[in-house]
Amino acid sequence: MKAKEYVEKVKSREISAVKTTKGILNEIKKINGTYSFFNAISENLALELAERIDKNPKGKLAGLPISIKDDLCVKGVETTCSSNILKGYRPPFNATLVNNLIREGAVIIGKTNQDAFGFGSFNVNTDMGIPKNPVAFCGVSGVSPTYGLVSRYGLIDYANSLDKLGPIAKYVEDLELVLDVIKGYDFKDSTSLKQDIIKEKEVKKVGLIKETLDVDPKIKDIILKKLDEMNVEYEKVLLPKTSKYALPSYYIIAMAEASTNLAKYCGMRYGQEGKVNLPFNESFSEVRTKNFNKEVKRRIILGTFTRMAGYRDAFYLKAMKVRTLVIEEYKDLFKKYDLLVSPTMPIVAPKLSEVNKLKPRDHYMMDVMTVGPNLAGIPHMSVNAGFYDKLPVGIMFTANHLNEKRLFQVGKGL
């Protein structure tokens, strides 16, 4: 059932939000022991919200169960970013996005698992957060909107100038519905945009990014087939700077910013507590060394390195300038094309045993398709395009800043 139909049924009292919520909570409790989809189940909050809706079924998302990724603050609900260092932390405030969802009647059921601090390409979730690769690997849809369209207040920062929040759901219609609720200017996030999404939704001409077709031919075929079905005019286009330089630029900025964001975790104020009977340097080092995982440490070290006095200009500043060129390159293409198309991932979902064999650099390479749009802050959407050996393959559409309507228009037609 699409979210809109469900919400209408809640409003006409055909469906009880409490009943649905109880059912989902039971289901989660049954399977969570095995799969650990959830870091925290917010049973009390969920039932309270559901009861409120049953009494007074109002709002665009009335009674809709939504899970929140564990990097979004929910007041009083344990929020850890899946990292040991934040264990036990209950934020004293809500993320703006969470407030917006609750205002429109959504029922927050819990915090879903992720790689610690959003690092890493392989995670499983179907919820609200930074949508990346899981979308493609799970065969669901996800939209990452224009940078600043959705307030980041209360999102535990990974990289402030790259982080975007967007929904993940089964249907494109649901993405549009939820984005409509969570978007909008928020004075608490100085980078949030005062402009709204552009009304224009017509898609006349599409550019197929040639460099992204250098993948497994079977993935390429699925993408091309999907494009043919779409019945729009398309041609191959080039993004030479983006395809070569977006990845290093993205990762330098991400790690440099992340290494400063992660400095605050030192065993004081919240989360894991450190020893107070030690000199501060030793106490901080001990907590951080013990509670950050390997990948987090690797990124902190790389990020710290790229902003050190002697290297800062060559890495961090250079990456910020490259970002300007990448944005310009996209903007040039959007003068001619309404949308750009590529696969979402260079491969299909690997097995856990294969993942374990990958080196750090291979992991980062998995993001090669999404780093360009993320670096440029442009909206992109991934939907399922077909299957390869029973594994889902995602197709990704990218639009100019604030052109989300075009993405939804195409997505709904697929």
Partner: protein
């Protein structure tokens, strides 16, 4: 550009992380592999290009100088506290 053991140690200590000899051995080649990808940026000329701090340009965002008291207690998450102070490790 390469990270050698000495740089790694100084970066780790700057980031308040302790690494064992074994961890250093494992990290060094990994970091240098990634750094090689990073160094690829040098092939792109950026003379005279302005850096983009955010992907979408926003400027001159202010709030008015008004007081709004926060009702939440910021000490609620810690056991290490004393007389409404946060308790921390030795600072001198």
């Amino acid at each position: 550009m390469k990270i050698d053991r000495k740089i790694l140690q100084s970066v780790a200590s700057n980031a308040r992380l302790k690494l064992s000899k074994k961890e250093e051995d494992e990290l060094l080649p990994q970091l240098n592999e990634v750094l090689e990808i990073f160094s690829g940026l040098n092939n792109l000329k950026t003379d005279g290009i302005k850096p983009s701090f955010q992907p979408v340009e926003v400027k001159n965002i202010f709030r008015e100088d008004k007081v709004n008291k926060c009702e939440e207690d910021m000490l609620q998450n810690v056991k290490n506290k004393e007389d409404r102070y946060f308790k921390g490790p030795k600072a001198i």
